[in-house]
Point group: C2
Chain length 100, copies 2
DNA sequence: TCGAACAATTTAAATATTTCAATAAATAAG
DNA sequence: CTTATTTATTGAAATATTTAAATTGTTCGA
């Protein structure tokens, strides 16, 4: 094991993150998390995105499965936060694709 | 027009790039471009990826449409290069999603 | 010009994703 | 315990993507 980064971010994980980011609604969710300073409840997203609750749930699952966001249970609610570490790893992966 | 960055990288463009990156075969293509030092011919990809020529062509189109790579015609061949500028813009977009 | 080599397009199929209605699960409040 | 609130799951339809065969377009070399 020579390259530590490769253990945290492999092509499979990068692919899953890319897929998670490959939907306009999911980008809106990420922007909203930023906007609300890492404090987004599922129920609030219904007001922002014109989708049914199960659809939003599905998109949140894509994002949490890729680990780009993390959901913290708070009673009945779930609070979503961006996983800055994973985002940094993903960015590092993209940087590694650059030539110079 | 107050924010210059928004003209170069908006959500729509970021979405297209995310989609372009959201396929394992396309990530392999990008890695191979890096490996060969920005000098990849379409015909070479057939040796690396087990797909028919039109499929590879399709994937290259996704990548070039998103502008993450650029194809330069060289006689009968097309030489593909990573568009470092667009990659940097995309990375900056991802950075902007981070909270701290 | 003709044929070979490389890339792009068209069309259709297989596969994957997105979406929502219905339902279930979990928890808070009364 | 019962009900209301919030989130998750299931199942099915609509839509999008991926793939390859067949074809077309381009360019090089003889």
């Amino acid at each position: 094991m020579t390259d530590l980064a490769s253990t945290t971010m492999n092509a499979k994980k990068a692919g899953r993150i890319s897929k998670a980011l490959a939907d306009p609604n999911r980008l809106v969710i990420l922007k909203e998390i930023k906007k609300r300073n890492d404090c987004l409840y599922c129920v609030e997203i219904t007001d922002i995105i014109d989708l049914a609750q199960p659809s939003i749930c599905h998109h949140l699952k894509q994002l949490t499965d890729s680990e780009i966001i993390v959901g913290e249970k708070e009673g009945r609610n779930v609070k979503y936060k961006l996983n800055n570490e994973v985002m940094d790893e993903y960015i590092a992966f993209l940087q590694s694709l650059k030539t110079e």
